[in-house]
Structures are given as C-alpha cells and as structure tokens.
Symmetry: C2
Subunit: 484 residues, 2 copies
C-alpha cells in the first residue's frame, strides 16, 4: 500500500514536500527491499527482486520518457545502470551527488551491462553542485590534475581503481607470507636505531609547550624507521620466518617520481639460509603470487591502467611472469655495462654503485624482465651484510631485484651471523657499543639468516605502469608537501 | 654410504674435527631428508621418513644411553622431542643453542607428544653460553623481567605465544573486514591534521645538519597521526566501507598499564548509516569473529595465558562471547552510577566525562561483559560528532565500547554530515579555514556516515588477560623508553 502511495507521489511532484514525505516513507520501503552493493547487483544477485542500492552518480542522462543514471559505490569499477521514468527526474540528480535507489533488478537489454535497476524511487541523499565540483562529467582528468585534490580524487574512476588494486595487493602479500609459514611482526615506527648507518632520518619529538626542549620524550633521540630489518632479525632468532608490512620513512629532499618521504615496505627475514637463493626464491615467489592474484581479482581495475594510463603495459607484465627471473652477479653486470656501446654518464668500474642509467640498461639487456643482481662489493654494503670472504674482488652476499620501468624494487642480503666478523666490522665503524644488543643475537643461538625489503609503491608502479609514485598511494608525503 | 660414514664418525668423536667433517657432509645428507617445521612434524607429516628439523634448544636431558632435546622453531608453542644416542651428546648442546637435527620421525611412546625425532645427527649451528644467556632452563621468568630484554624476549615461551596470537589476530581482523566488503586504506602516518583538536602530538622534522631549522621539510608543521579517521572519511565518500589498521601515536607522558606512545589501531568508516546500530554491529562483529578465530587457531598459545598468566581468564572470555553486548545510553549510565552505593572519587553528574572507576563499575554492573555506552553529551565530543539535536540534555551520536579489565576498547560516532551544522561548529572553534577540505566532503555528495577505532593492544589485553599493555606489543614505546 505504501509503495503505491509513494509511486503516486513521485509522479505528481518533485518538490520539497515530495522529498520530505518520501524520506519519511523511506524507512517503510527499505524494510521490503534488500540492500545490495553495486558489485553484488552486477553479479546478478537478487535478479527480479526489489532491491535498494546506495552510491554516487557517475552519469545522468535524462530523456523524454526515461532517466538513465550510472551509480557507483566503490565496490567495482563498473557502475550500475539505473533506469527510471521521466517523473523521477530531479534537478538535484547531478554528477557526484549521492543517491539511494529502490527498484527491481532486471536483465539489461544492452550488451554492455548484464543487469539494470528499474527504479521505483530515487532519493538524493547528498547534493553536488556541478559548477563547484572540480571533476566534470564525462571528462578524463589527468593524474596530475586529480593529484592536487587529495580529498576528492578517490571519486574518480582511475583513483578508485588504484585503491582497489592496492587493497587487493595488500591482501595478496599477507596471504603469500601466511601460506608460506611466515609470522607477521608489527615492527615499530619510532625507533632509536639508525638501520643504514646513514642520514635522511626524521626525528620525533612531542610538540607543544608541555615538553621542555632539552629533555627527549624517550630519554634518547628517536626517529621514524627506515627499515624494520633489525627488529625482524630479533624475531628471526625465535621464528624461522617473519615479515612486516608497514610505513617506512626517508627525509630525502627529493621530488623524484620514484621517492616518497613516507612509503610502504614489505620486509621479510628468513633463518637457516644456505645461500642467496633462499632469498631470491621468496622475492620472486611474492612478486609472482601477488601479481597473479591481482590480475585475477582486479581484472577491470588493472585493465583501466593497462588501457588508458600506459597502453600496452599488460604485455610487459605478462612477459615478466613468463619465465624465472634471471640472476647475474654484480661482477657480470659490470662486464655487461663495460661491453656495451652505451655512453653512460656515471663510471662503470668494478666497485662503483649502480646508477639508474645502469639499472635501466641491465634490465633491457636481460629482456625487459625483472633481474636479480647478486654479490655486490663488500665496501658498498652496510655492516650487517654477510662477508663472502672472496678476493681480490671482495664482495658481500647482497642482492637487488631490478624491474622494468622502476629500477630497484627489492634489496636484501644474507646477514653476518658470525660473531667475530660482525664484531670486528662494528668496531671498525665505532658502533660496537650501540649495537651490543645486535651482537647479542649472534652470541646466543645465532643462525645463518637473511632478508629483504620491497617498496610496495614501486611494486604497484611496476605492475600498473604508473609513472609517478605519488599516484599509487592514498596520501603522498614528500618534501614541501603534506596535504591533509 | 655417506650416512654410514657420518654415523661412524658421530660415534667416534665429538671433537672439532668431527664437527668440521660433519658440516661438509651436511650438504649431502640434506639432499636425502625433507626439511620440516616443528609444527608440521608434530602434525605427523612424513611419519617414518628421514627428515631435517632446525630450531633452538628449549631443553637438554643427557642420560646414560640417550640424549633428549626439545627443539622449537617458533612454528608452535609445543617443541619437538629429539632422542639421540649418548654419542650425540655435545657440550655445545645447551639451552638456547641453535641446532639442525636429521633423523627419522616416529610415533612417540610417551602420551604427552604424538611424535619424536630419532636423531642420526645433531649439528650445533649456533652456540649459546648458558652462563651469559639471561634466560635459564626450566625457569618461568616474569613478564616484567623479560620486558627488560626486548631483543631476546621472543625466545621465551610466553612471548613467542603472544606474537603468534598477535599475528593470527591481525589476520582475523583483515579477514573480518574483507569478508564484510570493506576496502583497506593505508592512511598516512605523517599528517598535517590534528584530528582530535587536542594536544599530545609528536612533531616530525628531519634530523641532521642538512636541514635548516626554520623551514619545515613539508612546508607545514607535520605530526604523527593520532587517528586515520579524517582520511577514512575522505574515502567513505567513494567507497561505502573502508578500514585501516596501523600504528597510531600519542605523546602522552604516561607510564600507565593501558597507554603507549605508539600503538596499533583498527579504524573503520561506514557510509549510508542510519543509526549508531550500524556501527555497534560492526564493532561487535569484529570483536566476536576475531576472538573466535584466535581461540580456534591459537588454542595452545591462548591456553598458556589463560593457564599461567591469568588463571581462569578463559571463563571470562567465554562469558563475553555468550550473548550480544548490552547497549546503554550515557544518561542511563549516569543513572546507574548515581543509584549505586559506590563511593566514586570523580563526580557523576550528567555532563561529566566517565572515568576509569566509572567504566569499571558499569562493566561489572552489566555482568562483566563488553558494554556499549551511547549518546554522550554533545559538549564532550569533538567537532565531527553528529548532533542528536535533542534537549534539554544535548547529546551527540557517539559510542564507546567498554570491556572487562581494560575499560575503553573502542570509540566511535556518527559524523556530522550536514554541511550547515558542521560549518557552524567549525566556525565556533575557529577551524573553518583549516578544515575547508573537510567541509568539501559535505559539499559534494555527502552521505550519513560513521566510524570507530579499536585499540589493538587493548584488545589483546582483554582476550588474553594481560595486565600491562607493554607485554602485548613487540617493541613498546612510552615516555622515557624507546629500546632498540
């Protein structure tokens, strides 16, 4: 009975009075309709039934006899087509407005969509003034433009797709580690360590007048973590396999397309290793399984990037997954660079750090697929890297994974588990006292172990073909920018 | 053949020479034995087969004819019993040392364990000097004692159990949200917002001489997040259900058993809400499903806490799960407090903040189960809480979940989605300009929404019965303490 009343009212008016009556009737009507997400509706749930869908209008097309809407609630890239009689038209039904639609879910006569919602009621929940709204209907806004609007950019197709991919990739990373027997550890964000022994740290102190500047809140200087490695190494003395996945920080004064001041890192540590292969297997396994999961579970969202952002990128990703990643030593890499006819800006002598131009060349040389570089010069690596004890070219058991378009994606090493060697190296750099707790790990039941870290944003750049790292993180932080 | 050689050698000597030969033979022997985790061995995998297990010695019992070890690799609370001939004895086989054992997995004659490993070889991978090692065999060390050793405490039974529970509870939280259609958002750690409008913030600035003190790295003052709520609200304008799970910070000068400077928080935001019940349903659902998951998947680990740390706590947890959580309004809570015969230190007039003593009483009054308190005085709540527009007792649609032993576990509210009301309140407190982006969310397609946060460490305290919050996080940070 109430539904008939509503329908009659809908026909007779779209005035304020109608909206108020409609609202008061809404509660009753809602009782008889099933609330559905757009993705559920598109999958054909409740076909032929009375349903209720809530979301935001992505397009409006009023015609003589009908009004057509596309409603999206973030559950999928595809929106649900809503068809209503012309009497449901409302000047407040604009691009960006929020609506609740009640009606019957039915098969669509159009081949582009499986179903459509034949609307009995369209209620505008929240208005959106098209003149002020910075996104315009049917326009494809550039990534640069939407980046300026961090509070609204999730309302675009491209950024909501990115966020769905990011969420799904996160799930896939956790699930890879869980199914491979790794324990998740929440390594700390605030730390009194300086893992790399290098600068570029953010320091942390309470703000406000309650705290005297002279005394540290923590009694010691405290920093934002640059890596959870040392904390994971603690854990690898009790659990054979551990990982962490969280925010990591660098106070780098850089506006580069590959650097952020705050980024997410996946780090793992494995005990009882025998060689670098124990690490490369996990790195490759994680890359493969996460990518396959994302391609399978976010086909539409990934497709948007591969179609509109970097056309042709899908072929590149498929090529990456085709065969196992090649492994070359640093020494072989140097030979390859020296044999090439390329004119490099930076030197390529044995002992030099590999620069972006070198990494790019090596990846191309290996067939534009991810490539492992192993056994770097001992002197290039931090104190914890395991000494290979070779000569005359003295190397450490370290490994990087370079990927097309991005460069360094992962970095790892076996860790020096031999107390005497580690102690000597720490003494050399005058850090023996600060790291006495770290030496303890080698004093008590030390085991050969190693680990690696992967920049999660770079991973997303790599598989989606996104040029700028700022476009793959919800709220990018970099020098001179901390919006919201 | 090699195995015979090894056995002969094992019988003849336990000298350094033996160990060196043994090591070189190890590679060959490893080829023929399957590497197993302790948990897999205990589950009876590869029964009757030649296997290899790596881990740390939790007990050593040399007898006349045999040596008995318990080896643990962190995959379960229970260790694997290893039985070897007396000839496998080695002075380096001490509590805490790391070993690799090869042998045959067989049914155990003892009822306490399903299987045991009949050792052919025991190789000490890493020594552990029992005199220096701060944990002693067969001693049950107090939580206070092991807390002083953050780099080693994961090697105790109790703390490795805690870490397994924590990892599993994390998995359960993610899985609850995923299966309920929530998208995971990585909200930022560094922010230029001050969500609560209150102090107790950590400020972030680069350390070192490269950066001039006068100019902010981010061009604006930047802080560690106290809540991802506002960032989630951004997302709730495009996705109907979002959540975040990560580190959160308070520069509270507190040594309390319930506070940390860095803690983990689960936060969720839900669009198209109709009432607070839309939030309490999710809060209760998450609590229930996570707890049931942990009880089912970490029975041994949880059992250790319920048996040795807080005897009898299991009954309390079971009682919590028995029926739905009671809901009372703040006004009802005040009535209950005023009707009680208890002598409270703090006032209980309508409008007062509920203190720990009040929360404790209310939880007891409701039967020592989790209890929701709703509709707090409007003036007690931050600017974003939704105005109930009631009088004379003016309230906001806010809700807290109080739990036995811990007090406030969750806090949430419906958010003020009505532009005019929100704008007026922000104008009142002079924050209209700073939060103009937040007002934008109400200008463009605003929807009724709400959310909540749960302190993850407090949750673990609640289900395990752990008194001090420092004992449920891998590396606790609080005033005057930032170890490692």
């Amino acid at each position: 009975m109430f539904q008939t009343v509503t329908k009659t009212l809908l026909v007779s008016s779209s005035s304020l009075v109608y909206r108020s009556i409609c609202q008061s009737l809404r509660h009753y009507c809602n009782q008889s309709s099933t609330k559905l997400r757009v993705s559920e509706a598109l999958a054909g749930a409740e076909l032929g039934k009375n349903v209720r869908v809530q979301g935001w209008v992505r397009s409006v097309r009023p015609q003589k006899k009908n009004i057509f809407l596309h409603v999206n609630d973030g559950s999928s890239l595809q929106s649900l087509q809503v068809v209503g009689g012309a009497e449901l038209s409302d000047p407040l039904l604009t691009f960006g407005s929020a609506v609740e639609v009640t009606g019957t879910l039915r098969k669509s006569p159009h081949p582009q969509q499986p179903v459509e919602l034949g609307a009995d009621q369209i209620h505008v929940v929240g208005e959106c003034n098209s003149v002020d709204f910075p996104f315009k209907i049917k326009e494809r806004h550039s990534l640069e433009y939407i980046r300026q609007l961090p509070h609204l950019r999730c309302r675009t197709n491209v950024f909501s797709s990115l966020l769905r991919v990011r969420s799904e990739a996160t799930t896939a990373v956790h699930s890879y580690f869980k199914s491979n027997g790794f324990l998740q550890i929440h390594t700390p964000t605030i730390t009194s360590n300086d893992c790399e022994g290098a600068g570029e740290l953010f320091q942390v102190e309470p703000s406000g007048p309650d705290f005297e500047e002279e005394v540290n809140f923590f009694s010691v200087p405290a920093f934002l973590t640059v890596s959870g490695q040392l904390h994971l190494e603690v854990m690898s003395g009790s659990f054979s396999r551990v990982y962490t996945f969280g925010p990591t920080f660098r106070a780098e004064n850089s506006q580069s397309r590959r650097h952020l001041a705050e980024f997410f890192m996946v780090e793992a540590e494995i005990s009882f290793t025998q060689s670098l292969e124990d690490l490369t297997k996990v790195m490759e396994g994680m890359f493969r399984s996460t990518t396959e999961h994302v391609l399978a579970h976010c086909a539409d969202d990934v497709g948007l990037f591969h179609k509109h952002v970097t056309p042709g990128h899908r072929d590149r990703v498929d090529a990456m997954l085709k065969q196992s990643f090649p492994v070359i030593t640093y020494s072989e890499a140097i030979d390859i660079l020296n044999r090439s006819s390329e004119n490099f800006t930076f030197p390529t002598d044995w002992g030099c750090d590999l620069k972006t131009e070198h990494e790019k060349y090596l990846v191309k040389h290996c067939g534009d697929v991810p490539v492992f570089i192993t056994d770097y010069p001992y002197d290039l690596k931090p104190f914890y890297a395991r000494d290979n004890q070779d000569q005359p070219k003295h190397t450490a058991a370290a490994v990087d994974l370079l990927v097309p378009g991005v460069g360094e994606l992962c970095g790892g090493s076996l860790r020096e588990e031999r107390l005497s060697l580690l102690k000597a190296r720490l003494e050399d750099v005058g850090l023996e006292e600060i790291y006495s707790w770290y030496l303890d790990l080698r004093r008590f039941g030390s085991v050969p172990h190693g680990g690696f870290g992967m920049g999660f944003e770079r991973y997303l750049q790599c598989i989606l073909g996104v040029n700028n790292i700022k476009d793959v993180i919800p709220f990018p932080r970099f020098s001179h920018s901390c919006l919201l």
